[in-house]
């Protein structure tokens, strides 16, 4: 019995092993093709699959559109390869290692799409000279490019967002001064991610005189009765929801259950997609959230995706109706920034040639996505204008706020909202202090001649 099993297994096992060795060892089909490789290391399964698959769809579709419409970037086609990270650090590292040498110039840049994986790749990306772009997640202090030359928390970081949220709440109350004496509860996912805003919100509470209470929700957050009863006791003016996955709809449901008005709940951008509100049904109506991309398909770039990609039946999304959803459009933002950085790099280092990761990093430090440029890209109003510099890997720190009307997200703020200039300085100084500590711990000497302006 045993031996027959062995016999049965023997041959396929050997074949599998052989295939494995050949495949993994065969290395990389180098060619001097005019191609620019970008890894698509995302996640399509598991608890966060709905976010990962939407972003991956927008990301890849944008490249397809650029290749089809423009023939790539100055004639250099963009190529990509999917790798499933499962939102798991170990798998994310394997995907990174697998993809970093692909294409004629290696990986141009990587979007880890997970704070955990971002952290794991900081050293590796720096050593390999591959930019790690953590757009809307990851280390806030990586804004300080002199310490983190290859890490780009582009657009806006959690810290800037927290400050922008306070600014927005001030506007809602009719002026930041009115925040004095108000009660704000931060309901956060008990994890590295959820704890990010606490220092900034605490500092600002001292400045503006609001009373901050932080309440943790243990992972996965599918049961929040006790947290919401506590909130009911506190009777806050606002609840900031820093959730992830199932925690978001559960929070909205629990708020309804305890009679807390949803239009007094303000979510982080990872709590503000369709997937976060639809499961809550009518309980989500009135809920507000931040975002660094707008929903909808009305923007010219999205229309081009529909025209050049979906009309040919080549789209990534099986369910076409998800095009224009928050996550899908966020994927478009990720891709648009990547393409723009490659373009900037090409214009500096030589048009029409594939650029290296090091050159892309230069491009990422010289982004100038102003309104004019965004309009050219067909993305005006879709994403915030952003200008980066050597020592400012974040850019503008702008967000929009949106509200769920029961069927779709509606933009509340016509203009992009930033933290007040003073708060921006405060956030910036926190980032500098944190980066300095990191540099000291790791024995890094900050780059010289690295300033906030190019």
């Amino acid at each position: 019995m045993l031996s027959s099993t062995a016999r049965r297994l023997g041959r396929p096992a050997a074949a599998l092993l052989g295939a494995a060795v050949i495949a993994l060892g065969s290395g990389l089909a180098h060619g001097q093709a005019k191609e620019q490789f970008i890894p698509a290391n995302f996640y399509w399964v598991g608890p966060y699959a709905s976010g990962g698959s939407g972003i991956a769809g927008g990301f890849i579709d944008y490249f397809k559109m650029v290749n089809a419409r423009d023939g790539g970037v100055n004639g250099v086609k963009i190529t990509w390869e999917k790798c499933e990270t499962e939102y798991n650090n170990a798998r994310g590292v394997e995907c990174y290692e697998r993809s970093k040498n692909k294409g004629p110039t290696g990986a141009s840049l990587i979007h880890p799409l997970s704070t955990g994986i971002t952290y794991s790749l900081i050293d590796k990306g720096t050593a390999d000279k591959i930019p790690i772009v953590s757009l809307g997640y990851g280390r806030a202090d990586a804004t300080i490019g002199s310490v983190f030359p290859y890490v780009f928390p582009l657009m806006t970081t959690y810290w800037s967002q927290a400050a922008a949220m306070v600014n927005f709440l001030g506007q809602r109350e009719g002026g930041l001064a009115k925040l004095k004496g108000k009660k704000i509860v931060l309901l956060y996912h008990e994890s590295a991610y959820g704890k990010e805003p606490i220092p900034v919100l605490t500092d600002l509470s001292k400045k503006y005189g609001y009373q901050l209470t932080t309440i943790a929700v243990p992972h996965p957050g599918n049961e929040q009765q006790s947290q919401w009863l506590q909130i009911r006791q506190i009777r806050p003016d606002w609840v900031i929801l820093w959730g992830w996955g199932v925690m978001n709809p559960t929070a909205l449901k629990a708020a309804q259950k305890t009679g807390f008005p949803r239009n007094k709940i303000l979510g982080v951008w990872w709590s503000g997609a369709e997937e976060d509100v639809i499961p809550a049904g009518s309980a989500a109506k009135g809920y507000m959230a931040a975002g660094f991309n707008a929903p909808g398909t009305s923007y010219p770039a999205i229309q081009d995706i529909l025209k050049y990609v979906y009309a040919k039946g080549d789209g990534e999304m099986e369910d076409k109706s998800r095009v224009g959803s928050i996550y899908y459009n966020r994927g478009v933002v990720l891709a648009a920034v990547s393409v723009e950085a490659i373009k900037v790099a090409q214009e500096h280092f030589g048009k029409g040639k594939p650029v290296t990761g090091e050159q892309v990093a230069w491009g990422l430090e010289h982004l100038n996505l102003d309104e004019k440029r965004l309009k050219q890209l067909g993305l005006s109003g879709f994403m915030p204008p952003t200008t980066t510099a050597c020592n400012n890997h974040e850019g503008s720190g702008l967000v929009k706020f949106q509200q769920w009307d029961g069927t779709k997200w509606k933009i509340l703020t016509a203009n992009w909202v930033a933290p007040t200039p003073e708060d921006q300085k405060l956030v910036r100084s926190k980032m500098e202090a944190s980066a300095a500590k990191y540099a000291k711990d790791k024995g890094i000497t900050p780059r010289a001649n690295c300033t906030d302006e190019n």
Binding site: T5, W44, A90, Y96, A192, K195, D441, K442
Partner: protein, 358 residues
């Protein structure tokens, strides 16, 4: 014909109690070690070293730890990842707070911390058995991750609870490249595997197995059941703790408590089920399988499906991975409960007889 024991006579008990009584096995092991220590670092590229071999070795060590507890001492644990987390955060804090502490000392002390936590959560094993105990180890899993996230002291007050491992330095040499890290991990894993083998072939191991097979009989013989179980928890957790430290220092570089979740615990449990419960070799085989298989599937499922004309939706290969993993677990438990290690043994027994099977 090559694999023959005929003519190899044992003239002393010492010779009979060697780890590998057969000369061919000894040669095989020495050859494997030579390849692992000399050939592999020369030929393997960065991808193989950093993304496959280092995690393979680290997971092997963790699986070895779990195998000591579950395979040898018979106590099922679902909290392996938690013990790894204790090891990683323990090593980090020793390295951070004691300047004079050499890095290997930190790894070892990280393991010792894990051992203490292991003993603490092993205490219920004195009263409860089987899956009651398994569920109890889940308490360790959730509690440890909570405590590490929650008390900022563990992560040196980093805002997010993420720790960044210090550089590995031994006598002024920095282990920065994949090669050097691989060699360091390989050396540690080899030594610990040897120590594990020594333990399981002496009184310690016999006591574990006796408690596993029949605890009342073990007690009657004079084996202290309580101490034996707790020792198994301690040694197992030590191994897992060191594995956790290596996971943080030699593999990922930065870790957060959430990374050591239940899913990781399950993965390590699968390694020993597929590799072989109660087998040192099985821990390595199982780790190799669980590390390599998803990568292969992830790589080949789509090209393969395309080749035969099926359009595989995104994520399908990952779903397939779950399905195949699950299926294999059931298959191995039903058909070959002793896993790949047993298949290897069966193959060897065949070889002994080959080419004359009678």
């Amino acid at each position: 014909m090559l694999y023959r024991e005929t003519g190899q006579f044992k003239t002393s008990y010492a010779a009979d109690q060697q780890i590998f009584p057969l000369r061919q096995d000894r040669i095989g092991v020495v050859a494997t070690l030579l390849v692992a220590f000399i050939v592999v670092p020369l030929v393997a590229n960065e991808y193989w070293l950093e993304a496959i071999l280092i995690p393979f070795l680290v997971f092997s060590l963790a699986a070895l730890g779990l195998n000591i507890l579950t395979g040898y001492a018979g106590q099922l644990s679902l909290g392996t990842a938690a013990f790894m987390a204790v090891g990683a955060f323990g090593a980090y804090n020793f390295e951070l707070r004691l300047e004079w502490m050499p890095i290997l000392g930190s790894f070892a002390l990280g393991g010792v911390c894990a051992a203490f936590v292991g003993i603490l959560f092993g205490l219920p094993s004195l009263r409860i058995k089987g899956f009651y105990l398994a569920v109890a180890t889940l308490a360790a899993q959730f509690f440890v991750v909570w405590a590490l996230t929650h008390f900022n002291w563990f992560s040196n007050y980093s805002a997010s609870g993420v720790i960044t491992a210090q550089r590995i330095e031994i006598f002024g040499f920095y282990f920065l490249t994949g090669q050097s890290k691989y060699l360091l991990v390989l050396a540690i894993v080899t030594l610990l595997a040897l120590a594990a083998k020594n333990m399981v072939r002496s009184e310690t191991g016999r006591a574990w197995m006796a408690v596993r097979d029949f605890d009342v009989a073990a007690a009657v013989i004079g084996i202290p059941v309580m101490r034996t179980k707790l020792l198994a928890f301690a040694v197992s957790s030590f191994y897992c703790g060191v594995a956790g430290a290596l996971y943080a220092y030699a593999y990922l570089g930065t870790v957060e408590p959430d990374g050591f979740n239940l899913d990781l615990s399950f993965r390590i449990l699968f390694m020993i089920i597929i590799g072989g419960v109660g087998s040192i070799l099985g821990s390595f085989l199982g780790a190799a399988f669980i590390v390599l298989f998803p990568i292969l599937l992830n790589r080949f499922a789509e090209p393969f499906a395309n080749a035969i004309g099926i359009d595989l939706p995104s994520g399908m290969s990952s779903n397939l991975e779950l399905i195949i993993f699950g299926g294999l677990i059931i298959f191995f438990l039903a058909v070959e409960p002793l896993g790949l290690a047993r298949l290897w043994q069966v193959a060897k027994e065949k070889l002994r007889l080959w080419p004359f099977p009678h």
